[in-house]
Symmetry: D2
Subunit: 316 residues, 4 copies
Amino acid sequence: MAGTEPCFDVAHLGHVELFTDKPEASLAFFVNVLGLTESGRDGGSVYLRGFDDYEFHTLKLTSAGRTGVGHVGYRCASPQALERRVKAIEALGCGIGWTEGDLGHGPAYRFRDPDDHVFEVYYETKRYVAPEAEKPALKNIAQRYHGRGVCVRRLDHVNMLAARVEPVRDFLPAALGSRVTEQIVLDDGTLAGCWFTVNNKSYDIAYTVDHTGRHGRFHHVTYAVDQREDVLRAADIFLENGIHIETGPHKHAIQGTFFLYVYEPAGNRVEVANAGARLVLAPDWEPVTWTETDRKKGQAWGLRTIESFHTHGTPV
Amino acid sequence: MAGTEPCFDVAHLGHVELFTDKPEASLAFFVNVLGLTESGRDGGSVYLRGFDDYEFHTLKLTSAGRTGVGHVGYRCASPQALERRVKAIEALGCGIGWTEGDLGHGPAYRFRDPDDHVFEVYYETKRYVAPEAEKPALKNIAQRYHGRGVCVRRLDHVNMLAARVEPVRDFLPAALGSRVTEQIVLDDGTLAGCWFTVNNKSYDIAYTVDHTGRHGRFHHVTYAVDQREDVLRAADIFLENGIHIETGPHKHAIQGTFFLYVYEPAGNRVEVANAGARLVLAPDWEPVTWTETDRKKGQAWGLRTIESFHTHGTPV
Amino acid sequence: MAGTEPCFDVAHLGHVELFTDKPEASLAFFVNVLGLTESGRDGGSVYLRGFDDYEFHTLKLTSAGRTGVGHVGYRCASPQALERRVKAIEALGCGIGWTEGDLGHGPAYRFRDPDDHVFEVYYETKRYVAPEAEKPALKNIAQRYHGRGVCVRRLDHVNMLAARVEPVRDFLPAALGSRVTEQIVLDDGTLAGCWFTVNNKSYDIAYTVDHTGRHGRFHHVTYAVDQREDVLRAADIFLENGIHIETGPHKHAIQGTFFLYVYEPAGNRVEVANAGARLVLAPDWEPVTWTETDRKKGQAWGLRTIESFHTHGTPV
Amino acid sequence: MAGTEPCFDVAHLGHVELFTDKPEASLAFFVNVLGLTESGRDGGSVYLRGFDDYEFHTLKLTSAGRTGVGHVGYRCASPQALERRVKAIEALGCGIGWTEGDLGHGPAYRFRDPDDHVFEVYYETKRYVAPEAEKPALKNIAQRYHGRGVCVRRLDHVNMLAARVEPVRDFLPAALGSRVTEQIVLDDGTLAGCWFTVNNKSYDIAYTVDHTGRHGRFHHVTYAVDQREDVLRAADIFLENGIHIETGPHKHAIQGTFFLYVYEPAGNRVEVANAGARLVLAPDWEPVTWTETDRKKGQAWGLRTIESFHTHGTPV
């Protein structure tokens, strides 16, 4: 049956909007330390991207009286795919409606996930066009490798907190055509974490349980670098710039990601990561399930997961 | 129109069959030096795979009186997608017909590309199940990281030679739904090389001009490692094992791949490569075109392309 | 005055003898997992070395009813330098006397440090001569890069435990001409750790306080790899081989060493490390002193030092 | 006999003075692209150093109507050692006399090598003291890891050209106590290149034949980075900044150095390099001799040495 075929309507995670109550310090972090480049600004928002992000922005940093996530945008594979997704989302009863888009993209359809985070899907986008000073020496990257700060390559994924993850496991496949690639199932059957992807990356979004029971909170946003050495170098850059390093560098057992977590000045958690050559190519990939026993072994090489990783989310 | 939507019928490059006239030496190279693991053998063929290849095999090494490529297999995203591809291929008039598959997969439909290389598409596959001694410590990789030789992670891509590349540029999108991501167009308009992908990898197959004008020849097969350091380490391993290093390590201007090329004992070219975090996520990616002027700059960091790279193919 | 000139009588740390009560398992670890190569054996000892150690051995693994360190050997810069050191050591009243040497080196003068560890100084040595199968492709390394296991390059340093470190800080400069490069001084003035070198490496031996108050115990032996990536790769190799990883990879605040600690099967701690391009070139280097306040920041990137690091020594 | 003992009078290569006829462009390269930091300036000279160089400067960049090397300074191990070296140099009949030093160090004794390059030996030095904004997070490095440009760690070595290398092979051991670690001897017995060290680095100066027969010319100065990945990253930084990359990254057969050569704007050759964990620890190291046959194999992994490497020197 056609209904059981994999869905490819959504092409990739497009951008995330982060709220900050320390806009200047946050911006300085993202530009000078993480190495994003500003594309433009409007209202209280600054549009930022990694040097090889092809769209106008992958991070919309919005000055607000709070921290946490504003919304998450996914780009669809075609106008028709966008239509299909809107129809599917509306059928799920969680639609908010259309927006006109912003500096970075065209019309977007907004909706809520079961934990009250705001998402949007869109197709029309504004491609980043490098100004003369940012033109790359090699024409197949979006912007020159400028070498500023950590100089991350591209947006990789986001991690949400949710009071309950189970509803999300059903929701994202229905709304976005996401596949579950890995998950944590506790001994009592509770789903403690779930990793999803819409494409060949092994995940573009993860949800983990918010032990405070609150809704709509944010765990972290991740930018990818090309090599694990870039993650190690990032650690020195964060250290020298007085950025709080929460944990890492180390390798996650789940997904095998080589990670480093810091808090940007307003408190939102940011990860720099490298996945090596790992991709999920199998169209019929079976979710990998991690048990409590598995998790007791710590991260891949035995690091105990730091307590704040289970408790710190934004808003705090 | 639905017809202009991207096609996702083919999930990924599945395997390549290489011919060797030095089967023992070739096998020793692939197992002990490159670090593939044998899954099984039948007739004159040995089935091999990288430690994180999920299928039974990604390389079928077949003893023959010659070198070069036997066939290339692509796995479809679903049974329905396979049906659609067979229909499309038959319509192109290049179909050969169904085979029963082999040790590694189920029924496959074979066809020829315009330069007379043999391909097949299939859906049913045999997943690699690690025997006790090869079980990984982390359950999300297919086999333990055994550390033998270069210990490549997974099949990455193949490169074919063709008397003319233009017909292939039309053919692969029609047959497999491939997209062109990069290409070399000479000053006289000739297409000297073309890179294609069916998924988010920036390429899974490339075609470059065979200056001898022959048909059906093979340029190289590539296995991916996680880090550029693995490529550098591979160079020392090849050196110490008396394997002919043709060129590298260096970074390709095209696709930005960090590469190292060697000849396996029978003469087939093998590449070890790392792409960093580079992916083609844009559903409407515009092909990047390299001109003769671009190519005169050499590889990314200025290395002159070695002459044999333009002349050596198998069979010789 | 000549007396205040730096002393260069001792060229480098030569070897360490480790005791094991699980000789077969320990040997399998050192050869197959860490990647040392056997040079020979006599009595209950196996002589081992890293691929670029120039002497016959840097590790003498001796079967005994216990774990811990047998002795540590330093090679002098010349026969005259050896004579001078013996005279100085005898004057310190801690001499044991001459031995005839062993398979790896000529006559050695043995002595005890203030905490009862046995040392020896020697000049005549047996150089490793690679058998045909181990000859390197490049003639400036001692043995081919064989790629087995972690494939460590060379002995780097040892770390002793001592009931009190203060006497050692006076002793090693007098006995070996060592310089103190870094140290930990607690708020009450206690010397909690001290790092020494006889050459341009930033340390070849360290002493840290044994909180059990016992004497003559051993903390770890370290082998150097060329790149931090080799340390990360080692972590996967240890993981897949069931070797207990105690802590790391991470970067020490002290000395900046990128480290990974494991226990070999008998329980002796072994480190794989990389120091980058760091050397102590200044002839008048001033010791760097770390305070309790400094230490509360954890390792370089904030990792809390694992409790066992302060308690586990051999014999246990 | 004491006379045959190794000499340790000279502690390390201290600095090199380079002439430039494009002072602004050269300075911009060294500061913004290579990542050196300015310590001060006087007359037409700017004093520069890598982030972990402990002295006031390791590069004195002097505006002149020409390119090439001004002088090379070596720091002695003690005042007494300096006296001994001056006596030895005077006995060789090549002394120039004392200078008062400059911003970076105290009195220095100048002399000429047999090819007419100017050297100096000194003991009193000015240590770099980091201003507040440059203080490192970890107190055992000289300056914070600022991450600007290539951000090299420390001066590594210099390479001189000489009409004849043989006289230098005799001279440096006599003048500085240098040891020969590697050399190229042609089939006709000519010494084509020679690598020397005064300490445990495998070389701090090299001499190669100047095929033009001229005297006093300069081949390159090298700064060390911690990892090979830093060299690869440097290649992208040079590429994006329009710096001419001559050759590399690749691994030298001789000394095993992982190298990358560029020309700074005035034309002086600059290398970024990593030696891994390689050190010359043996006090009785036997020089490694490379023959013409050896050299025909190219660099370590087969790269042909680029022609300009044999012809380009400064002044041009």
